[in-house]
C-alpha cells in the first residue's frame, strides 16, 4: 500500500511539475509568414538575380523547423489575393494550402476583403484555424478577436489587428457596414484580461512595420508583434520597449523564425532570423507540391476558358501611335466602371492584340499583363489638356504614354512642337472648359505619375476634403480607387456579360496636318 501511495505521489508530483515547468521556463518557436498573396510558385523579383519562394519549399522548411521545438505557425495577413493562383479561386487555394500546412492562426489583411464579405466568410469557414480581426467591428460570423493556444502547458494569446486604412484600399462595397478601429484601441481592450489568462501575448498585425512600432510604444505588455502589410524584410527582430517585432518580407520568399525562452510569464531570451526559401529540389513538401499543382491545373483551365466572341480583330498593336478599337473598348470599360466623365490610359499598358473569334481569359491576361487597378481623379480641363499634350509628346518614338481615351475626343498635329499639339478637345460632346473639373479614370500606374503623367498627381496635391458620395467615403479629387481588382478582371467580366463584342475606331483621336 505504501508503495502504491508513494507511486501515486510521485506521479502527481511529476504531473504537477510537468504542468508547472513551462511557467518556470519554456521554449517556443514562432514561425511566421505575411503577404503571401497567392505566390505559390518560386519566382524572380524585379531587379533580383535570385529565384525564391514556392509554397512547397516553404512547407518543407516549416516541417523541418517544427520538429525541433514546440512551434506556432502564424500568418500576418494578405494571404488569399494577388497572384492568379489565388485570385482565380477567390482565395480558396490559399486557405487549402494553409490548412494542409496546419497554420495555427491568421489575421485578416486589407486584401482579404477584396473578394467581398460573402467570399471572405466562405474562406473563414473553410479555414481549419482561427481567422482574427479584433479591430473589425460588425463583421458577423467568423472573425475572432483573439485565440489562446496551449502548447505544452504554455498559454499563448494571439490578438489579430488589421490596418484601419482597409476601407481606403478596397472597393467600398467590400467593407460596407464595417468599422475598422485603431489597432491600439482593440489591443488595449483585450490585453488586461488576456494577461491574466496567458503566459505570452502575441499581436498578429497586418498594419505595417511603422504602425507596429507605434503600437509597441503605445501599448505596453505585448510580448511579440508578428507583422505584415509593409512587406518588410526584417532580417533580425526589432525591439521597441519590451516588445519584439518581426516581419517576413513577402510572397513566401522567406519564413520568419523567432525562438523564445520564457520564464514566469516573461521572455527571458530570444533569437530570430529569416530563413530564405530557395527552391532546392528534394526540400519540398510533397503533399503541398501536389496541392499547388492541382490548383495550378485549375488556373490553366480557367485561363483557357472562352468568355465571349470578338466579331472583329482587336488592335493592340498600334496603341502607341493612334487610337485603336481595342484602346477605345478598354477605355470605355474603365470609364463606365469608375462612373467617370472621361478615361485616359497609356497605350503602353496594352501589350498585344486579340484576333477575331473566340476570346479566352488568357488572351485578356496577355493584353493586360500588369497588376494595375482603376483609379479616377478629378482633373480640371486645363490639367486634362496637359495630360493629353504629354500623351502625344512622344509619338515620334512610339512612347507608351500615347493615350487611349473614352468620353473625350481631340485632334493633334505632330508637326507642332511637343506641348502645343493638342486642339479641339471635347468632353461628353461639349468643348473642354479649362476651369471645370471632370472625373477622369486612369490606372494606378499613371495616377502615380507613371509614363511621366503629372496631371493626376497635381490634382491630388490640391485635394483637401473628405466627402460622402453615394454612401462611399471619397476624397475631394479621388473619386474611385479599387486596389483589389485588376483591370483585366473588369474586362473579363464585361466580355462575359456582353458575350459578343465588335468595337470600332470611332474617331476620338484624330491627327491633323
Amino acid at each position: 500500500m505504501k508503495k502504491i501511495i508513494s507511486l501515486l505521489i510521485s506521479i502527481s508530483l511529476a504531473v504537477l511539475l510537468a504542468v508547472a515547468a513551462p511557467a518556470a521556463a519554456a521554449e517556443l518557436r514562432i514561425l511566421y509568414v505575411n503577404d503571401f498573396h497567392g505566390f505559390a510558385a518560386p519566382y524572380q523579383s524585379v531587379g533580383s538575380q535570385e529565384v525564391l519562394g514556392g509554397a512547397a519549399y516553404l512547407a518543407g522548411e516549416v516541417n523541418k523547423l517544427r520538429k525541433e521545438k514546440p512551434s506556432l505557425l502564424l500568418a500576418a495577413g494578405d494571404m488569399i489575393q494577388g497572384n492568379s493562383w489565388a485570385n482565380l479561386s477567390k482565395g480558396k487555394s490559399s486557405i487549402a494550402l494553409m490548412n494542409l500546412m496546419h497554420f495555427d492562426a491568421m489575421v485578416v489583411g486589407n486584401h482579404e476583403f477584396d473578394f467581398g464579405q460573402r467570399v471572405l466568410k466562405k474562406r473563414i469557414a473553410q479555414a481549419r484555424f482561427p481567422v482574427l480581426g479584433a479591430n473589425v467591428q460588425d463583421f458577423k460570423d467568423g472573425l475572432k478577436p483573439f485565440v489562446i493556444k496551449k502548447i505544452q502547458g504554455l498559454k499563448v494569446a494571439i490578438i489579430g489587428v488589421v490596418t484601419p486604412d482597409t476601407p481606403q484600399s478596397t472597393h467600398p462595397r467590400n467593407v460596407a457596414g464595417l468599422k475598422f478601429l485603431p489597432p491600439a484601441v482593440a489591443v488595449e481592450k483585450y490585453l488586461p484580461r488576456l494577461k491574466k489568462q496567458a503566459d505570452l501575448i502575441i499581436v498578429l498585425s497586418h498594419c505595417g512595420f511603422q504602425a507596429d512600432r507605434k503600437l509597441a510604444g503605445q501599448v505596453p505588455g505585448i510580448g511579440v508583434i508578428v507583422g505584415g502589410h509593409s512587406h518588410t524584410k526584417l532580417l533580425k527582430p526589432a525591439v521597441v520597449g519590451q516588445t519584439i517585432i518581426v516581419q517576413a518580407w513577402e510572397h513566401a520568399k522567406a519564413l520568419g523564425v523567432l525562438d523564445l525562452r520564457l520564464a514566469d510569464g516573461k521572455i527571458t531570451n530570444f533569437s530570430g532570423h529569416l530563413e530564405m526559401i530557395k527552391p532546392v529540389p528534394g526540400r519540398e513538401d510533397k503533399a503541398v507540391a501536389r496541392l499547388v499543382q492541382r490548383y495550378q491545373a485549375r488556373v490553366n483551365k480557367v485561363l483557357g476558358q472562352k468568355i465571349g466572341v470578338a466579331a472583329v480583330d482587336l488592335d493592340g498593336e498600334h496603341v502607341r501611335q493612334r487610337e485603336t478599337n481595342l484602346g477605345d473598348f478598354l477605355a470605355d470599360i474603365f470609364r463606365k466602371t469608375a462612373g467617370a466623365d472621361a478615361a485616359i490610359f497609356n497605350g503602353g499598358g496594352i501589350r498585344t492584340s486579340i484576333p477575331k473569334g473566340e476570346i479566352t481569359v488568357k488572351e485578356v491576361y496577355a493584353v493586360l499583363p500588369f497588376d494595375n487597378y482603376l483609379v479616377a481623379i478629378k482633373l480640371t480641363g486645363k490639367q486634362i489638356k496637359e495630360a493629353l499634350e504629354h500623351g502625344v509628346s512622344g509619338i515620334e518614338e512610339g512612347a507608351g504614354r500615347f493615350p487611349q481615351v473614352s468620353g473625350l475626343s481631340f485632334t493633334y498635329s505632330r508637326k507642332a512642337p511637343a506641348g502645343s499639339r493638342v486642339k479641339d478637345i471635347r468632353i461628353g460632346g461639349a468643348p473642354l472648359d479649362p476651369k471645370k473639373e471632370y472625373a477622369v479614370a486612369t490606372n494606378d500606374f499613371m495616377a502615380a505619375g507613371g509614363d511621366g503623367y503629372q496631371a493626376f498627381g497635381e490634382a491630388l496635391k490640391s485635394s483637401r476634403d473628405f466627402a460622402n458620395i453615394g454612401g462611399a467615403l471619397k476624397g475631394e479629387k479621388l473619386v474611385y480607387n479599387d486596389a483589389g481588382r485588376w483591370l483585366r478582371t473588369l474586362v473579363i467580366d464585361y466580355i462575359r456579360e456582353q458575350k459578343e463584342i465588335a468595337p470600332k475606331v470611332d474617331g476620338r483621336i484624330q491627327e491633323k496636318d
Partner: protein, 102 residues
C-alpha cells in the same frame, strides 16, 4: 483552444482620440456632406528625402514610379525603410514614411 466571441462588439470601446491615427477614416457622414480634415485621403511619403503625394492604397512601387526611380530598381538597386530594412515593392506605404533607394 479558446477564442473571443466572433463578430461581437462587446459594448462600446473606450474613446481615446490620442490613439486615432491620421489614417483612421471618420464615420460616414450624411450623403453629400463634406468634412474638413487634414489630408488623410492622400498619402505623403519621402523617397530619398523628396516628398511625394500618392493615393491611399498605393505601394512602394508607386512611390518609386512617382520619384522616377523605378528603373533603378529594375537595374538592381533596392528600396529600404528608415531603419535600413529592405522593402518589397508591393509593400504598403505609411504616412510620412521614408524610403531610400540604394
Amino acid at each position: 483552444m479558446e477564442t473571443g466571441k466572433p463578430g461581437s462588439r462587446e459594448g462600446s470601446l473606450p474613446s481615446n482620440p490620442a490613439l486615432t491615427s491620421c489614417s483612421q477614416p471618420p464615420e460616414f457622414l450624411p450623403k453629400n456632406q463634406k468634412l474638413k480634415t487634414n489630408n488623410c485621403l492622400k498619402m505623403r511619403v519621402y523617397v530619398n528625402d523628396e516628398p511625394l503625394e500618392l493615393v491611399p492604397g498605393m505601394t512602394v512601387r508607386h512611390a518609386l514610379i512617382k520619384a522616377g526611380l523605378f528603373q533603378k530598381i529594375e537595374a538592381g538597386l533596392k528600396a529600404y525603410d528608415e531603419w535600413g530594412n529592405e522593402l518589397g515593392l508591393a509593400g504598403a506605404l505609411a504616412p510620412d514614411m521614408k524610403i531610400w533607394v540604394k
